[in-house]
Each structure stands twice: as structure tokens, then as C-alpha cells.
């Protein structure tokens, strides 16, 4: 079963067609790297797959739910790390994550282990989110995603603002999720870092998929773009 199945999906932000007709099929347990220039539509594609945006036209099914009708059902089973960390500045780290856990009906014990997993030290647990550095915030936000054990991970520039150690943590997390059978979509500029994790590299430009390459373990030469599926919509 495809986890993500988009056909000619057009998504508008106001009057701007951020996605201009995306065709994308992602199967379970794939790790897909989305690459492309700024403004290509990578972030919109992730938010769309998370069930936060309404399709203007085309068909879109994520986790078996049609995005035209049942976006709330999709939202409950995905984890999205966006540019903003979606934390309440005046709540402590623990309070923020406990709120998320309670809202999504998850055991509270998961909060502690998720924070440990992302290397957030115990002395930070009772610090309000507003006092954290950008890197710490990002790790907490990632812990919030990990906490939910989503079927579909949508990570927008997960390495941004993290140090070497933090980046390794993220890579470990993604590998672990994939091993558990979850599907991961990562948007990233940093090709070298995410490449070895990715099973597929998808290029997004002008709000559409322009290239879609299976990345074999024997790293593919980035310049030798061999298009093999759903490519070139225009």
C-alpha cells in the first residue's frame, strides 16, 4: 500500500500555486529525500502531506485517507517538524511535551524517553521553552515528533541549527524510524548528510517533481540524474 499517493496535486497558498501538480508515490518504510532550491515547494509539500492544507485540484491520498475529506484523520498519524518549532514559549519543555502527549493520547512516560533519545539533558526539562537556544528548541520539537511514533515522518530541514552531535542524533532517529517500518520524508539542502539514509532522492522545482531517483547503497552520482518514475510533469 502506498503511504503517500499524489496525482496532479495543486495546492494554493492564497492565490499562489505553491504546488503546481505533484505526482508522487511513496511506499511504506521508504526514506525519501526532497531536494530543490528555496521556494520550490518542499515545505508546502510536507505540510500538505501532513493534512494541513486543502488540495485545490488533483487527487491526494495519505495513509489511506483522502486529503479532500478526511484531513483530521491524517493529522493524527503523522509527525511534522516544520520551520517553526510549535512550542509554547511560557511552558517548560516537559509541560510542552506533556501537553502534546495528553492531546494525542500517549503515555506520559514516553515524554522522558523521547527527550533522552534526543539528548536533552535533565536539567533543561523544567526550563521554559522561550529560554532555549535555537538548537535546543529544535531538538525538543523533534522529541515531540518522535513521541508520537508516527507512521509518516515529515521533517523540514531537520539538521538546520544543530551541531554535529545533534545531526548524528537526527540521522539515528530517522534510521530507527525506518527500521520500525515508518515512512520518512525529509526536505534538506544538505545533500551529503541525508544521502546515505535516503532510499530515494526526489527533486522539487516550480511546485512539481522534476526528478525522482532511487538512491542505491552505492551512492548515486548526483549529476547523473536518471529519471525513473513520475518525473517531468511539465
Amino acid at each position: 500500500m502506498s503511504i503517500v499517493a499524489l496525482r496532479g496535486a495543486v495546492v494554493l497558498l492564497g492565490r499562489f500555486p505553491a504546488l503546481s501538480g505533484v505526482d508522487l508515490e511513496v511506499d511504506a518504510a521508504e526514506v525519501v529525500l526532497l531536494q530543490g532550491p528555496n521556494g520550490a515547494g518542499k515545505s508546502t509539500l510536507l505540510r500538505f502531506c501532513a493534512g494541513l492544507l486543502r488540495p485545490h485540484s488533483g487527487s491526494a491520498v495519505v495513509l489511506g485517507h483522502d486529503l479532500r475529506e478526511s484531513r483530521p484523520a491524517v493529522r493524527r498519524s503523522v509527525g511534522l517538524l516544520g520551520h517553526d518549532t510549535a512550542l509554547y514559549d511560557d511552558l517548560t519543555i516537559t509541560e510542552n511535551l506533556q501537553f502534546l502527549a495528553r492531546a494525542s493520547r500517549i503515555e506520559l512516560e514516553a515524554v522522558g524517553s523521547a527527550l533522552d533519545r534526543l539528548g536533552v539533558s535533565a536539567r533543561l526539562h523544567d526550563v521554559v521553552a522561550g529560554r532555549l537556544s535555537a538548537g535546543q528548541r529544535r531538538r525538543v520539537a523533534l522529541a515531540g515528533v518522535a513521541l508520537r511514533r508516527p507512521e509518516l515522518w515529515l521533517l523540514d530541514e531537520p539538521h538546520a541549527g544543530l551541531d554535529q552531535w545533534g545531526r548524528d542524533l537526527v540521522d539515528g532517529l530517522v534510521a530507527e524510524a525506518a527500521a520500525d517500518g515508518a515512512t520518512v520524508l525529509v526536505a534538506s539542502h544538505e545533500l551529503d548528510r541525508t544521502l546515505d539514509l535516503a532510499t530515494r532522492r526526489v527533486t522539487v522545482a516550480g511546485g512539481a517533481i522534476t526528478a525522482d531517483v532511487v538512491a542505491a547503497a552505492s551512492a548515486v552520482d548526483p549529476s547523473g540524474v536518471q529519471s525513473n518514475r513520475g518525473a517531468d510533469v511539465c
Binding site: 500555486p17 503546481s20 501538480g21 532550491p37 527533486t203 522545482a205 516550480g206 522534476t210 526528478a211
Partner: protein, 250 residues
């Protein structure tokens, strides 16, 4: 009328428009020369022929706005959204006219332009403010669907609250300068009543005419947005080819 000009009018609206023009002439003749003067109000009573019809249509417009808003929220039907928008815009005009003719009429008969104790006056003023707010939201711009949803909520809020506002002002003032519904208590002279009915019919015809034209304008705007979107999509897709061309040449 230059040849070849494209209009939102059709045979139906032209007939309607003609009927309105004839009706207005008849209304002026009846209102000023046909209907007799009132014993107490003298000739000031002739204001009733413009005031009551616009009040009647204000509340009709409010009901249509509410129905259109509910249908947009329920079915997400663009057709109803345009209906709600049209009715709100025309409603604001009639509401403003109601307030204006009301206070002009109030001056000679009640000796004041404005009376805070009067239920219908205050209710209509608050309704006017809400309708203006609704249109302000529409013109504030943003995502088309989001704007429609916001305006629909305000439209419903206005319709739902008007009876409550009316009740509260009625208890508050406990007095009204308005005559109890003039239509039903039979105090009006036959010809005055007839003229009033003519007035309501003429204004209602104008309302229908304006609704049709306004709806068509809303529909045309929608068409133009769809065309704009097509061009934007083409441009957006073209970005992809230039980007990838740039990438391979690097």
C-alpha cells in the same frame, strides 16, 4: 452604449430594470400626489414609502446572507458564498438608507434625529455595524476560502444576534417612538396602504435586479481568478524547467 460592449445584463434583468423605472415613477406620483396626508404627521408621512421598504429589504438581505453563509460553511458551495457576499453588500446599502430616511423622518415627527430609546433604530444601527464589519473582512483579502469562511461566520453571527439585540433594546428602553406595525393595525388609509405595498414591490424588484447583477459580478471575479490561477500555474511550472536547466548546466 458603445457597440460590442459586454454587459452583465440579460433580457430578464432588462425587463426587471424597466419595471423598476416604471415602478419608481408610479411610486413618486402615488407617494406625493395620490396618498392623502396624515392627520397628525401631515405630509411627513410620505417618508414611509421609502423608509419601510428599505427596512423590509435590509432584513431580507440579512436572512439571505445568513442562508448563504450557512450553505458555504456546510457545503463549501462557491455559489452560495457569492450569494452571501452580494446580499451583504446590498444589505449594507439598504440598511444605511433605512437609518438615514428614519432619522430624516424622525426629525419632523418625533422632533429628534436620533433616539436611543428606540428599539428598531438601535437594532438596525448595530446590524449596520456588523454588516460593515463583514464587508471589511471581505475586502481585507487573503486566501479566498479563508475569507469566505470568516465572512460567513460574521454573517451568521449577525443574523443570530439580531433578535437578541432587538429584545435587549426593547427591554432597556421600554418605549418606542415607532408606531406599532402600521401594516397590520389597519390605521392606514386605503390608498396609503396601497402605495406602501407598491413601494415594497418596487424596492423588492430593484433588490432582485441588484442581486442578479451583483451575483454575476461575483461570478465573473471568480472566473478571472481562475484564469489568473491558470497563468500562475503555467509560470510556476516554467520555474521548474528553468531551475533544472540551470542545475544541469552547473
Amino acid at each position: 452604449m458603445s457597440a460590442g460592449a459586454v454587459k452583465t445584463g440579460s433580457r430578464t434583468t432588462r425587463l426587471l430594470g424597466f419595471a423598476v423605472l416604471v415602478g419608481v415613477l408610479a411610486l413618486i406620483l402615488l407617494g406625493f400626489f395620490g396618498a392623502p396626508e396624515d392627520d397628525e404627521q401631515r405630509d411627513a408621512v410620505r417618508m414611509i414609502f421609502v423608509h419601510v421598504p428599505s427596512a423590509f429589504l435590509t432584513y431580507t438581505a440579512l436572512v439571505i446572507t445568513a442562508v448563504g453563509s450557512a450553505m458555504w460553511l456546510w457545503k463549501r458551495s462557491r455559489w452560495w458564498d457569492i450569494v452571501a457576499h452580494s446580499a451583504a453588500e446590498i444589505g449594507v446599502i439598504f440598511c444605511g438608507l433605512t437609518l438615514f430616511t428614519g432619522s430624516i423622518w424622525g426629525r419632523p415627527t418625533w422632533n429628534t434625529y436620533w433616539d436611543w430609546g428606540d428599539v428598531r433604530l438601535v437594532t438596525t444601527l448595530i446590524l449596520f455595524l456588523m454588516l460593515v464589519g463583514c464587508l471589511a473582512l471581505r475586502s481585507a483579502g487573503g486566501d479566498e476560502d479563508a475569507v469566505a469562511t470568516r465572512a460567513a461566520v460574521v454573517g451568521l453571527l449577525a443574523a443570530v444576534n439580531v433578535p437578541i439585540i432587538n429584545r435587549s433594546v426593547e427591554w432597556w428602553s421600554n418605549r418606542t417612538l415607532h408606531q406599532k406595525s402600521s401594516l397590520t393595525d389597519g390605521n392606514l388609509e386605503d390608498l396609503t396602504l396601497f402605495t406602501l405595498v407598491v413601494g415594497i414591490v418596487v424596492w423588492a424588484l430593484f433588490f432582485v435586479w441588484a442581486m442578479i447583477h451583483r451575483f454575476r459580478i461575483g461570478w465573473l471575479e471568480r472566473q478571472l481568478r481562475a484564469i489568473d490561477l491558470e497563468t500562475a500555474l503555467v509560470q510556476r511550472r516554467a520555474e521548474a524547467s528553468t531551475e533544472s536547466a540551470g542545475e544541469t548546466s552547473q
